[in-house]
Amino acid sequence: MSDDAMQSLLCLAPMLNLVIAGLVVLVGEARSPRHAARGWMSAFTLLAILLSFLEVIVIGSRIEGFGVEVFSSLGSVDPLSLFLSGSVLSFTAVVVIASRDTLLRHGLERGEYYALVSFAAAGAIVMVSTSHLFTLVLGLEVMSLSLYALAGYFRTDARSVEASLKYFLVGSFASGFLLFGLALILGGARSLDLRAVAAAFLGGGEDAHSLLRVGSGLLLVGFFFKTAAVPFHMWAPDVYDGSPTPVTGLMATGVKVAAVGAFLRVVLVGLAPARELVSGVFFWVAVATMVGGNLLALGQGRVKRMLAYSSIAHVGYLLVGFAATGAGSATAPAAVLYGTVAYATASFGAFAVVAFLETRSGAPLAFGDLHGLSRRYPFLAAAFAVFLLSLAGIPPLFGFLGKFYVFGSAIGIGMEAGDGSLVVLAVVGVASSLVGLGYYLRALVAAFLKEPDGAALDFRRVRGGVAAALAVAAAFTIWFGLGPAVPFGVSDLWDVAVRAVAPLR
């Protein structure tokens, strides 16, 4: 094999691992006797994810500077893709760990679950490791299809099936927007490579420009659908609420990181010359998303639904970073990456706690079920508090720094360019954070201040794996929030994020 092909294959290794692991789990389970032990599936999947992660690190140590192009520029492995791949893999791993309890309680631990999760992660990795729009959509579709199936994994639960169908229909609709946008961009730029798109924005004639503008607009709409920005968010609460909670955890973490990261690349590279278009669009969508997500969360009675709206609101905060990127901020892209990882860490923790509590109650978790949590499960409640406070943006936690960097970059570029709209964005962001505190406070009050009324959840120890995953997530939330001179604290992750986007500027 030629050197190039070898290199391409090696760069694909993380993704290939996951695909192969998924297939092995599928076939292996099909061939094993009906009542054989199934514990090996999650361990095997975890091993595969760990292997992929190691490969990501190895590749990262070997590529320099701008990274490599593989498969005639259809794929692109650079610091950004490695950062995102690593994040996706980490979150997928902890989701797998936290899934077992829920699956076992429903008696549904099957190979398909782990295979689909592996495939979703593989699709996510493809999605982030490319500078070519077609590959991006390909990866997005692979990831989304896996998730459509995962959302409906609890086949006998009407809400899960409903979630899956809704997700599938809206997701396909959104993909339609994406593909139509791609077609127009192809027409305008003669190529789907992001750099060619950027060149076409700069050069190119009037016709090309109008095609590109409409195409980019449709592309952005597709992106907003996929990340559940307002007003394209209608599907998210139902889907998040109806899906099995570990799947929701995956949606809120790995999928978010991949989607935001991939589109950050699109905005940074492909849409870079189209500053005003991008900045203007993101401004309005960010405002609508932050305000809408936070206000709608206030009235929710189910914890998962509240977390879904909080997820929408957080996308709004990240969109502020996108708007700042569009306005030319140098720190905004790294801030978006940092903020996404910060959000995903705390979000995973919150969903994992909800998943565990639901295995105890057997029903969707309502705020009333949280009563007395701090007495029954003190450490779980403490971890839950850490996650909620991080999401609310209370220092010195990870989530606070994420918001700090994002709003900071918006204010920074706003003051530098004399552009008041970005400062307004930061003000709206901060004000809607206050609203956000309202519903996080409600959950905290329920968990810490209220006594259990009537039937308290029967106590069972938090299983080792889940406890470990929660402990790690909580530790990271605090660690990254503090990180002074400690190794690999906040500064290091920020540097990693900065270096991830550096080649693209």
Binding site: I394, G408, V430, V490, D495
Partner: protein, 507 residues
């Protein structure tokens, strides 16, 4: 020989972690351990008083470590004349409050102790912070343990009270976040190689007047909610009333001082022009607070609520002192805050003792206690007089200096403020009279069974009484340490104003 300042600040935090990990659930052991830790912190903090020079008016005992190089903030702590005594007040009040909590905290002792110690750490860091970002982080951080303290161990309306407290406080401090970010950006664009983000660095920033005004407003809102300044004070009565005794002592004795300290640390030195321009309006709000709260205290039937309103009233006077913008007023405000911490803390302590015995805070339920509880009554009257401002006790020095400072600025303001002092005498003495004196008749015969203060309560009360007296007579050494820092502050303000004036008229 002083210990490291950062270590003293973080010692309560370590104590909190240790308390949580203690393998015992015996309340007595937990209490002893945690009170011991806070007492240790006080002993460690005491040498700072002796070693403090204060002549330069600048930060002493400084320690600085790189924190987030990406944005140039450092973990920079130090004490100067403005913060030294408030720092010591934190170390002083915490062990006493924890010792006082014995009767009122009936469950979840480990969490209570951990919350309290975490709160102490946050407050110590806040007063010692020399870096703006660290200041902000500590500011937000102290809300969390307070939320739990009021919400879990508080009275009947505790959930409402604590939610109102959190929402008000965070609503106030979020503008401060934006202001901190903006200041950060301004500093870095003025000096890209800057590696520190201290208050002193920010004093010299050149900012256009419109932005300055917004920044001043953002910080002002945050501090005004905490102080609390009328009309942002409505969170305070429920929070103080519903908090457990120890929580009230810390809330009134320490957390309210954060607002006043914030004005002195941030608003005045960084935004002198805006502070001067806003001073008349702030004075009006302060007066409204002084008089309104005093009048509200007058009609209270709940003792704790009465003390809460008296807190608002006194802090209004402190704000008046701060915004008199002269040496006398500013020094007075610090002294008043110190004295108020002691007197209000003692008042809440005493009311808590009553509550422990009768589970009631209504004045009507008491009366004639002087006969049954002579020591208690003596202490009550003493502390009340200290709060009113009887010369010779701590309240007088602070109140007099604040009023004098206000008088130098505006005679009418001071004249109206004096009415507040008179009113405080009225409601406090009236409350003392109704509670302690008079006969024990058929309506309150339960008071026959009231026990006087036992040895443990005396142990907790005595330091308060002693310090109220000491600060009343030995004001000179305290003021000697405060005044140089106040001069430096005013000098910074003068420089700032001159710079702003020269920017405005370059021709």
């Amino acid at each position: 020989m002083t210990a490291s300042l950062s270590l003293v600040c973080l010692l309560p935090l370590l104590g909190a972690i240790a308390t949580v990990l203690l393998p015992t659930s015996n309340p007595r052991t937990i209490r002893l351990f945690s009170t011991g830790v806070s007492a240790l912190v006080f002993l460690a903090a005491l040498p700072f008083l002796g070693a403090f020079d204060g002549a330069s008016g600048r930060l002493e005992f400084e320690e600085s470590a790189s924190w987030i190089p990406a944005i140039g903030v450092r973990f920079h702590v130090g004490l100067d004349g403005l913060s030294l005594f408030l720092f010591l007040l934190v170390a002083f009040l915490t062990p006493l409050s924890m010792a006082a909590a014995t009767r009122s905290v009936k469950s979840r002792h480990q969490e209570f102790a951990a919350c309290f110690l975490l709160l102490e750490s946050g407050l110590l860091v806040l007063f010692a912070a020399a870096d703006v970002f660290l200041f902000y982080v500590a500011w937000e951080l102290v809300v969390v343990p307070m939320f739990l303290l009021i919400g879990i161990w508080g009275g009947r309306e505790r959930q409402y009270a604590t939610q109102k407290f959190v929402l008000f406080t965070v609503a106030g401090s979020l503008p401060m976040l934006l202001a901190v970010v903006a200041l950060l950006w301004l500093r870095r664009s003025a000096d890209p190689s800057a590696t520190s983000f201290d208050f002193s660095d920010l004093a010299g920033l050149a900012v256009d007047p419109g932005t300055r005004r917004l920044l001043f407003l953002a910080f002002f809102v945050s501090f005004a909610v905490k102080v609390p300044l009328f009309p942002l004070h409505t969170w305070l009565p429920p929070a103080h009333t519903e908090a457990p005794t120890a929580g009230s002592i810390v809330l009134a004795g320490l957390l309210l001082k954060l607002g006043g300290y914030g004005f002195l640390r941030v608003s005045l030195p960084l935004f002198p022009v805006e502070a001067a321009a806003a001073a008349p309006w702030i004075a009006i709000l302060a007066l409204a607070g002084i008089l309104g709260s005093a009048l509200a205290a007058l009609v209270q039937s709940d003792l704790k609520r009465l003390v809460a309103y008296s807190s608002v009233s006194h802090m209004g006077l402190a704000v008046l002192g701060v915004f008199s913008l002269n040496a006398v007023g500013v020094a007075g405000s610090i002294y008043l805050m110190l004295g108020h911490g002691l007197t209000t803390g003692a008042l809440f302590l005493l009311v808590g003792m009553l509550h422990d015995r009768r589970h009631s805070r209504e004045i009507a339920d008491f009366g004639g206690l002087a006969r049954k509880m002579p020591l208690f009554s003596a202490a009550f009257v003493f502390v009340a007089l200290g709060s009113i401002g009887l010369p010779g006790l701590c309240g007088f020095v602070g109140e007099f200096l604040c009023l004098a400072g206000a008088f130098f600025r505006s005679k009418w303001t001071a004249a109206v403020a004096v009415a507040g002092v008179v009113l405080s005498a009225w409601y406090l003495l009236r409350a003392s009279g109704a509670t302690l004196f008079g006969p024990i008749g058929p309506e309150n015969e339960k008071n026959e069974a009231m026990r006087d203060v036992d040895s443990r309560e005396v142990l907790v009360l005595a330091p308060f009484v002693a310090m109220i007296l000491v600060l009343g007579v030995a004001s000179k050494p305290v003021l000697a340490r405060i005044e140089p820092a106040v001069s430096v502050l005013l000098e910074t303000m003068r420089d700032g104003s001159e710079r702003a004036a020269s920017l405005r008229s370059p021709r």
